[in-house]
Symmetry: C2
Subunit: 414 residues, 2 copies
């Protein structure tokens, strides 16, 4: 895309009330706009990054047999009363509102209840199991503190998948499968080496649930990392009994601050019992469906990535989620600009995603913006370079700069 066609601009300053680094950088680079604490609009470049994260997650969900759906934000209280979660003391982040006729509604902070209720239409027999519906949906949570930018939202994107299984064994096999799937997602997002499958408190149906925690100085959780085993233990279950069960000694663990970037729960019959989601098994007996839930927040992940992959010059996107692979800068005479125009067309035709800085601006401003926006590769076309039939390639992660022939450049970018 040509920068002259992009309406956003970079800016030196984020809003004074924005205290999180991820939102400060994303606002300064023109990726997002702060509507209020915990609610951000996605501008063109931010929308591209968010969509890339969503698409990486979607591919993994489809690969484990997920079926994409989209539930409603508006909720009637009936099913939530049956599970006991309509009460503001049980879920303390409800937004409640009213229909014109006076009926009270809520904005879904999560979707176990409506989906469990919905599945009663479709699950009757053991032959209908297992099934794995999932969605990307805006969740609403009335968070009292929302100071972490995209990392804690009042209105945010969530991928939530729910499993409906016939037996605990079937459930557990899927649980392992999606654990592997989640780890692949973090790997693709560039967070693999920082993210640990973390043992957390379970509930009535499993000793543990599992979080995926990314080590970060701004995280709100404390975890104990076992690097060799590539796992961690959440503070809430960090005790002798759990350590013994996992065969781990305290001395092997390193305490870290981390941010939760995913969580998977064995729900068992927590929702299928009160909402009466049952099936008839092969032997004719009627049983409640075994459920699990698997959450991952694309907008939070965007915040975590922005927070982690950044330096004093700005954002440093991993290639898989960058809004473009190449930032093309033209400097100098009309001939250089014409040459850059042609290169832009040629590389675009090859399918390369390019931000072409075709503005009438000084080189220093173009370079600074390419760094603030965090585009992986910068290519410069200038009179001096063209005199030698060369191009300058600068790598955002290392700052390394190379002077390359056309063939060398194309090889590097392909």
């Amino acid at each position: 895309m040509r920068l002259t066609n992009l309406f956003t601009k970079t800016t030196k300053n984020a809003p004074a009330d924005e205290v999180s680094k991820n939102a400060q950088l994303l606002i300064r680079a023109g990726f997002i706009h702060k509507e209020m604490a915990g609610a951000y609009a996605y501008l063109p470049l931010g929308k591209i990054v968010l969509d890339k994260i969503v698409n990486i997650i979607r591919a993994e969900m489809n690969a484990v047999g997920g079926s994409e759906i989209s539930l409603t934000a508006l909720q009637q209280k009936d099913v939530w009363e049956r599970s006991g979660r309509w009460d503001d003391d049980v879920i303390d982040v409800w937004f409640k509102l009213e229909l014109a006729g006076g009926v009270q509604l809520g904005l879904a902070p999560t979707h176990e209840e409506p989906l469990t209720h919905l599945m009663k239409e479709y699950i009757h027999s053991y032959k209908d199991l297992p099934v794995y519906p999932y969605q990307f949906q805006i969740k609403f949570r009335n968070e009292p503190r929302a100071k972490s930018g995209l990392m804690r939202g009042r209105e945010f994107w969530m991928k939530d998948l729910y499993s409906f299984s016939r037996t605990m064994a079937e459930h557990e096999a899927f649980y392992e499968k999606i654990t592997a799937s989640y780890l692949r997602i973090y790997e693709q997002l560039g967070l693999g080496s920082l993210t640990y499958k973390t043992f957390a408190s379970g509930g009535s149906f499993a000793k543990f649930s599992h979080e995926f925690q990314t080590v970060s100085p701004v995280g709100e959780d404390k975890i104990y990392v076992h690097k060799a085993k590539n796992i961690a233990i959440n503070e809430e279950v960090y005790n002798d009994e759990v350590l013994a069960e996992l065969g781990i000694d305290r001395s092997e663990l390193v305490a870290e601050t981390a941010v939760e970037v995913g969580n998977i729960f064995t729900l068992g019959t927590r929702f299928s019992e009160p909402l009466q989601l049952t099936f008839t098994d092969e032997d004719g007996s009627v049983k409640p469906v075994i459920m699990g839930s698997y959450g991952i927040g694309p907008s939070r992940l965007m915040g975590v990535i922005a927070e982690h992959f950044s330096d004093d010059k700005g954002l440093v996107w991993p290639e898989n989620v960058a809004p473009a692979k190449v930032y093309l800068v033209s400097i100098g005479s009309p001939e250089s600009i014409a040459h850059a125009d042609a290169l832009y067309d040629e590389l675009s035709a090859k399918g390369l995603e390019i931000i072409y800085d075709d503005r009438d601006e000084r080189p220093g401003i173009k370079f600074a913006d390419s760094e603030l926006m965090g585009i992986p590769f910068r290519v410069t076309v200038s009179d001096r370079l063209l005199a030698d039939a060369k191009y300058e390639l600068t790598i955002r992660t290392s700052g390394e700069t190379m002077i390359l022939t056309r063939d060398q450049l194309l090889a590097k970018l392909s």
Copy 2:
């Protein structure tokens, strides 16, 4: 997709409280689930249809220079008070709610105010104009009557594009461009011949706004259609003065009931004045930005298409939005099933979208479901047909059935 992997099922009956034909059919076919009046969940097949509609619209918006963004549903009252639209007497479909701290918020029923406010960050000079941000976003409207299925929602998908222009001439040129774009969208959705650019009341900045009205017996609007000119006049401006202005005689018009499937407005400075969105023009003078808004509802369109393209057997999707092009039915012996399996793999590999009815069900049930789901082409593989090395192809629109060789079948489907 294999039907045995799809968790939804068809059903003979829609919920008793569902009075609209579009929702009845979509629920019976397993495309949507009714959460409450005016709020529907999209199940796997419904999500595919909705996404196809969205993608047709997106391609047209990008083609006219649109930049995709995503604004927030949560709204603070400040900017809406400045435009005078926070008041429930002015916008009578607000959902209002409260932050934990007691601050009142609203759920955006439309987005002129927050976007106008946001653009103050990015529009300063005439060089920053024109720009065309758009979004696909869930809108919330506290509709007192929501009895038309997907055609009138309390929570529904809207594409809203906003134009920010330097002059009325620039604005009008874009207005004509997007008019043509909208007509192309309806054409691609199969609604072209039923949908008229309709003159409606304008406001302070233009004599008319324009609606796009699709003739439908369940529409809530009355329009007067001029078939030869391919335009219509909304009842609200159907008077001698307007007819004279358009050079039309009453005798040339036919009264029709219709549903509004899009609308475009010249907003002028209605929002840029109170919200102070101004720019410095080339001569140094400071002027308010000229705005327009352009709405089209993907979920309403899905309802209109379902309502119109249906018969006593069920839905009849136009090919561009059908959840699959082919419904493949296997009947009979293990050999026939193996043959159908191979055909499914082969056609899928060619990129054809197929619903493969691999269930252990009677042929009559499979045929009825293919009709209820409204898939354009049904291909049947059976022992009797295979004995002659033939396939049966049935066209959903006409019910026409052909017995074809393999080459003939592949030619018909490609």
